[in-house]
């Protein structure tokens, strides 16, 4: 339903135009068909020549090799025709859609005159979405954090492209942004998440030099992620892929919800840091994901990322505690130590601890939980599996959850 | 010759009386105000210069209140805390607010008279305390007024410099100025045209230096003043 609402922005006239163009492609395919038929008849005539002089084996083999070379010539012609057809299709797609006007996350009107071929992304979420809609070939640079913190398969793609020189790396826009580096790349589109690092300032500076900068909504809800995907699709000329991606994400989440149809909600909390102890409050993306995963955030009455005390945790009494390890910095005993040193042995009365349901998330699952973007359905499924393993035919879940202890394939299977 | 007329001048702070009912008329001449610490000399001088507003009473200079004749008053305060980079010319320029550029010439003349003509462009922090005092006097005088009110002008000065300062004041008086000085330098009392002795805010002696002065001083300071005068 969400997809339908978003799709309503489309220009049906443009779709009709596409249909017409597709029809002309269709006729090109028919002419190809007739070329193939021509070949067919040639093969038949060769056949009769062979039948008429059966005794001449040498002549036969000569003719066979002539046939072979004709076939490979044909192959070349066919491949060439197919390639030109493909590029015509891409160009058609872009001619139909560009110039594009998008209103971005900060209500800025961004105009992209033609299909961008020199895209720079400013943060991992933007890079991930750009790759996911198929704009990888149009990227010229990503930021440093995208090289370090993307989950698979995106990190492999990025590393490969950096290694073969087709992708440059600019310094992190979180800590040390550099306008000149970005300008030096002569980008025709810059994509970043609004409010992330210095992105907003970078946007306001670059636009005065005529460079379109698209700021994506920062993920605070599932709708934000869908909007971001569609925006990137429109901006890069891959609307179809974007739409398909949103549909697939939506379907995966529906599948998870189906599996959770009859379960009762579980009180849970997601802890992001220990001492000072930050938890995900209400009005955060994690909160939304927890709800989709069949959980109730015990701190949803606090907004943002509040700092809590051990007493708060004792009072809230969650049945499941999910701790983000922060690159191995924290594990379950860090939590117990902090609790013990502040409220003493009483901490064992917290339901999650009493019934052994404290889980630590490590590896690239961490960034998947904290900045999900395209992998949101996987993140939701991960949370769902943790909260309701039995709904997914699992008897238990390991305490330390990393890509090696809980296979990513479990998170992508439908249902 | 300018005249200062004070009538019932009183100054109180939080009920405490600093100067009590001061009435006098001083016309020209070198007037010296003596008295122990805390007697109210500084406050009296401030009242006469129009720097402080009296609680009661009035001050008139040739019939006009001090704020109407600011251009004629040169006030030399006892202390000045200045920015370390301040030069003598800077101080003089600041003092000559509201006046034209003729002060530069006057400054050099007075610095010369006091023997420190080289100090014009120098920073105060590079001068000795005696030189600082001389420079402050020269700067204040560069204002060119004919009513000169100086609070402890001879502090930090050695004997010869004190003599120079008094000689300069005498010269100004001869040219028609009214000079009022507050000082501890009791020995100079003999050089004054008129002496006022202040004790706990009250004038105990006003007149020419002579017999009555010694008595008044003894009472004010609580010691035999003869020894002070002779020392």
């Amino acid at each position: 339903m969400i997809v339908a609402i978003l799709l309503s922005a489309y220009n049906t006239v443009q779709l009709a135009q596409l249909e017409r163009q597709v029809r002309s492609v269709s006729s090109s395919v028919s002419s190809l068909n007739s070329t193939i038929q021509g070949v067919s008849s040639r093969v038949s005539s060769l056949n009769s020549t062979i039948q008429s002089s059966i005794a001449n084996v040498d002549r036969l083999s000569e003719m066979a090799s002539a046939l072979g070379s004709e076939l490979s010539e044909l192959n070349v012609t066919l491949s060439g025709r197919i390639a030109s057809l493909e590029s015509q299709l891409t160009q058609i797609e872009s001619e139909v859609r560009f110039p594009v006007t998008i209103v971005d996350a900060l209500n800025r009107t961004v105009v992209i005159p033609s299909m961008p071929m020199r895209i720079v992304t400013l943060d991992p979420a933007a890079t991930e979405i750009a790759l996911a809609v198929g704009a990888g070939g149009q990227l010229v640079a990503v930021d440093n954090n995208s090289v370090l913190y993307l989950p698979p398969p995106f990190n492999d793609t990025v590393h490969e492209m950096v290694a073969n020189g087709s992708l440059k790396v600019i310094s992190s826009t979180y800590s040390s942004p550099d306008i000149e580096q970005i300008m030096a790349l002569s980008p025709d589109l810059v994509i970043g998440t609004a409010g992330w690092g210095y992105n907003n300032y970078i946007a306001s500076t670059l636009t005065s030099y005529g460079i379109p900068v698209l700021l994506l909504p920062s993920s605070e809800s599932l709708e934000d992620v869908y909007r971001a995907v569609i925006m990137v699709g429109e901006a890069t000329g891959h609307v179809n892929n974007a739409v398909k991606l949103v549909e697939s994400m939506s379907a995966q989440i529906t599948a998870v919800e189906r599996s959770l149809k009859n379960v009762s909600y579980v009180n849970a909390t997601v802890i992001l840091w220990i001492n000072p102890t930050y938890v995900a409050g209400g009005v955060t993306f994690i909160n939304d994901m927890m709800t989709l995963a069949g959980g109730v955030n015990v701190f949803q009455n606090l907004s943002g990322w509040p700092v809590i005390s051990s007493e708060d945790l004792l009072q809230a009494n969650p049945s499941v505690i999910i701790l983000v390890s922060n690159g191995g910095l924290f594990n379950a005993s860090s939590l117990y130590q902090w609790l013990n040193s502040t409220i003493g042995p009483a901490y064992v009365n917290i339901a999650a601890i009493k019934y052994g349901r404290v889980y630590v998330i490590g590896g690239w699952y961490e960034s998947m939980i904290s900045e999900p973007a395209v992998l949101t359905p996987m993140a939701v499924k991960l949370l769902a599996i943790i909260l309701h393993p039995q709904a997914f035919n699992l008897t238990s879940v390991p305490q330390l959850i990393t890509p090696s202890t809980l296979s990513p394939s479990l998170l992508t299977n439908q249902g | 010759m300018p005249c200062i007329a004070a009538e019932g001048l009183t100054f109180k702070v939080k009920g405490k009386v600093i100067v009590e009912d001061f009435s006098a008329e001083l016309c020209g001449g070198l007037n010296v105000v003596l008295g122990p610490n805390g007697a109210g000399k500084t406050t009296l001088l401030r009242l006469l210069a129009g720097v402080l507003r009296p609680t009661q009473g009035s001050v008139l200079i040739d019939g006009a209140p001090p704020d109407k004749v600011r251009a004629r008053i040169s006030y030399v305060p006892a202390q000045l805390s200045l920015d370390p980079m301040t030069r003598v010319v800077d101080l003089a320029e600041a003092i000559n607010y509201g006046k034209d550029g003729s002060w530069r010439k006057r400054l050099r003349e007075y610095l010369s008279a006091l023997g420190i003509e080289w100090a014009a462009e120098r920073r105060f922090s590079t001068l000795s305390s005696g030189e600082q005092r001389l420079a402050t006097i020269a700067a204040a005088l560069s204002r060119g007024g004919d009513v000169i009110i100086a609070d402890e002008p001879t502090e930090f000065l050695d004997v010869s410099n004190r003599a120079k300062v008094f000689a300069l004041f005498r010269e100004l008086v001869n040219k028609g100025a009214l000079v009022i000085i507050a000082t501890h330098d009791v020995r100079r009392a003999g050089q004054a045209d008129r002496v006022l002795v202040l004790s706990r805010g009250v004038v105990t002696f006003a007149g020419q230096p002579g017999e009555g002065l010694v008595e008044a001083l003894s009472k004010a300071y609580g010691v035999d003043a003869k020894t002070l005068l002779e020392a």
Binding site: Y174, S175, D178, A203, S208, Y209 | P84, A94, E121, R123
Partner: protein, 326 residues
């Protein structure tokens, strides 16, 4: 006299020189001094080179305006409060701006102009509060100082309180803590100048009475200076300039403290001279600091305040030591 002439010559040579250096240096190495010369001579260069040079030019301009403005503000406060260690941030204006920005971010406003408006509002409200309260308590130099410092602390404390609630939105506020000219656009400089130029002109008009404040309140009053009026209005004008600058580029420290000292050292304690001399020196220090900020962590950038503090503090100590020794 000799020292003054020497300093004047030095400024006249080094200021254009620092501008040229600033235009020739940057992470995009291909745009360097020869390219700059080509542009100045009217030769054609690539669109990219022009863009990069424009970016550097705007940045240099912003740094110059920042340095000059801070120096003017610092000089004024040093004269009006009779305190050689006064700096532009005395009135708590920077803390007010940062609080405004933090609150704006918390309320979901993140666009640059929103935050700029919040910064100006925060700074101006703080200034108003400081002046009103000081005025009620007598309006003397010490009162202004104490009330300003008190507001600085209170507002900083409040800001920290709110910053924790920002969570991942925090970096948006950091720009306003670190200070930088990297994201200043031309319209922003223009808006700042609209406030700065009239304020500086007003201060220049107040030169003579402001200068006489150095005599101390009572002597100044004796020679006809309207002490309270001059003090409050110069304090307000100086802090207004600070508010505009902080909203443009965040708080950048030390220039407002060091530039007046350098000017006083060469030209004496005379407000009308110190005003423009410190402005020129402040502009130069800012431009050079920005160049260093671009180079020191090449190709990343260091925060401008870090550079000015690290290099500014020893410079101040050096000045102090040299002046005492003479």
């Amino acid at each position: 006299m000799r020292a003054e002439r020497l300093t004047l010559t030095l400024i006249a040579i080094s200021l254009p020189l620092s501008v040229l250096i600033s235009l020739s240096i940057g992470p995009y190495r291909s745009v360097d001094f020869p390219v700059l010369v080509a542009v100045l001579m009217g030769l054609p260069v690539s669109r990219l080179s022009l863009d990069v040079l424009t970016y550097r030019a705007i940045r240099t301009l912003a740094a110059g305006v920042l340095g000059a403005g801070l120096a003017v503000s610092g000089s004024t406060l040093q004269f009006t409060l009779r305190n050689p260690l006064a700096d532009p941030y005395l009135a708590g204006v920077a803390s007010g701006s940062l609080l405004g920005v933090t609150l704006a971010l918390l309320w979901g406003r993140a666009s640059f102009w929103d935050l700029y408006a919040a910064a100006i509002a925060g700074g101006l409200l703080t200034l108003l509060a400081v002046i009103t309260i000081s005025g009620l308590a007598g309006g003397g130099a010490v009162t202004l100082l104490v009330v300003g410092v008190a507001f600085s602390y209170v507002l900083s404390g409040l800001t920290m309180f709110f910053m924790i609630m920002l969570g991942p939105k925090l970096p948006g506020a950091l720009y306003w803590m670190f200070g930088s000219v990297a994201f200043v656009t031309l319209p922003l400089v223009e808006r700042t100048l609209i406030i700065l130029v009239p304020a500086a002109a007003a201060l220049a008009a107040l030169s003579r009475p402001l200068n006489s404040l150095l005599l101390g309140d009572e002597v100044a009053r004796a020679i006809g200076v309207r002490v309270r009026l001059v003090r409050l209005s110069s304090f307000a004008l100086a802090s207004l300039i600070t508010a505009a600058l902080v909203s443009m580029a965040g708080p950048v420290g030390f220039i407002g403290l060091v530039a007046p000292w350098l000017a006083k050292r060469s030209f004496g304690v005379r407000f009308s001279t110190v005003l423009w001399a410190s402005a020129a020196m402040g502009a130069e220090i800012a431009v050079l600091s920005d160049v260093i900020a671009r180079l020191i962590l090449f190709p990343s950038e260091a925060p401008l305040t870090a550079v000015t503090s690290v290099f500014g503090a020893p410079l101040l100590v050096y000045i102090l030591i040299k002046s005492r020794g003479e």
